[in-house]
Symmetry: C2
Subunit: 334 residues, 2 copies
Amino acid sequence: MKITRMHGAGGKLMQELIEKVILGNLELTSVEGGVGLRELDDGGTVPLGDREIIFTIDGHTVKPIFFPGGDIGKLAVCGAVNDIAVMGGEPVALSLSLIIPEGFPIDKLDRIMKSINETSKEAGVPIITGDTKVSNVDDIVITTAGIGITERGKVIRDSGMKERDVIIVSGNIGEHGMTILLARENFDFKSNLKSDVAPLNKLIKKVLDSGVEVHAMKDPTRGGLASALNEMVEKSGLGINIYEEKIPISEEVQSLSEALGIDPLTVANEGKVVMAVKKEDGEKALEVLRSHPLGRNAQIIGEVVSDHKMVVMETLVGRRIIDTPMGDPIPRVC
Amino acid sequence: MKITRMHGAGGKLMQELIEKVILGNLELTSVEGGVGLRELDDGGTVPLGDREIIFTIDGHTVKPIFFPGGDIGKLAVCGAVNDIAVMGGEPVALSLSLIIPEGFPIDKLDRIMKSINETSKEAGVPIITGDTKVSNVDDIVITTAGIGITERGKVIRDSGMKERDVIIVSGNIGEHGMTILLARENFDFKSNLKSDVAPLNKLIKKVLDSGVEVHAMKDPTRGGLASALNEMVEKSGLGINIYEEKIPISEEVQSLSEALGIDPLTVANEGKVVMAVKKEDGEKALEVLRSHPLGRNAQIIGEVVSDHKMVVMETLVGRRIIDTPMGDPIPRVC
């Protein structure tokens, strides 16, 4: 058996690979009292006194490395920052591992580093350590790890949603993946579409500081909203009903999806958060999100139910089960 | 200007690249009161209450991925564990990022994961989070990040050596790099040589727990002992005298070095530590090191001086300046 592209695409095949070959072989996967690898959350945690350290890592191999709205450097910083933020942590430090192909132009590396700098400043998170290797990769690979801090026991888990919670998405879906697809294929039509890649820590902090009760969070990257919601369902043992008409999506992504036959629910986002929020706090959460530029299109898209354990979407023509995609329809998006 | 292999080899070219393109572009590079990126130590630190979190990252692209004495998985775990240990920290958690080429056999991945598991158990450090991507790399890339903990202000810096300190190496040098070279080139002679790759945290803890005063530590990986000693010299503003006859080296590595015209001082190690130890504690440190299997060939190889700012080696035929190598003579060793 060999690894295929679909094994890396954030869907079912990848889940199976991780379960069998990765988790199946590792015996030490958590620190006492902390979130471990087996939980397959956006990061792991290390309890330390009255705090909890949140620890994440992400490898980035997007193609092309420069795209409308961002580049691999911005993506790498946001990947680590957002994984910490959706666990309820304040990101405090990043580390950066570069694997650069021989022959890579130094001016491109310079441009990527400038973008990393801008994003690190936007998020307010320093890069305190790093590693550089030159190797036979077809393009630059950037892996970022991050450390965040929260009060002990205050980690927000992707498993934590409760019955009656409302499901909120912070803005228009599918923009990152679709942008990458367009940039890659050189479709011959003009588009203003750009990636949504952005650090979400300040947006999320605003919501948490407002006192809104957030029970679960995820950033719907690979596999899109469909993967994120299904993970929340599987881990909580509850179900989610969503309403197609409520899902924020730009006209452009909508029409592109139709033209290309790609379900926008399965397309990667890099600057969006999905939250399960206590029903009574839903409107307040929406208001706080919308007061921030990165959350201005936030919407309540559905609610948590206990009468089934699926993601069910109500559409104009009836109900449809939203399954975990087998893999991302667009590979190498992040 | 383009990136060449030598830019990634741990020598002068790499130092220049990092100074100009990486450090030159980044503005946020440290947490208040912690060790930052600009210090170019084996990791950065985040002070937290009365503790200090040590944070490291390393990308691994060794070729071949399986070699006598280890594989890329063992290397990846040891890389992170050792970087934390040489800063005086206790490693508490690792994260693992896999970039796997399409078509990579799943049984090879399984073998690598088993090796990661064994090494994680040997070091006693869990892998609490991870990420898997499938991409166009020529072979698997494994990046590991690590978190370690120490008391605040107790971080051991590679800049910390003091005049009169003795310089100790924990065992035979050059074995990792030479093993990789032999494994790669298919030289047609039999060899029992194997990589020294090993987690050093328990060995180092033993030394620190014994009360020995360690002023500086490094693991002499890329660029070998020559790079490590020169870094300690540059960062401390002091000099080091070493004695060729004291440097622990196996007959096999010695004769291979001569046959191939490679200076063993510049060859990578993956299971060795160099320490600058208070002169009065030197013999005790040696004794503690030698009582552990990974330190049984430990030697005092020289001392710290203030009358020059170089690494000077006394040989049978006179004194020789050991410079930072331009790059590693054997690329892609780790």
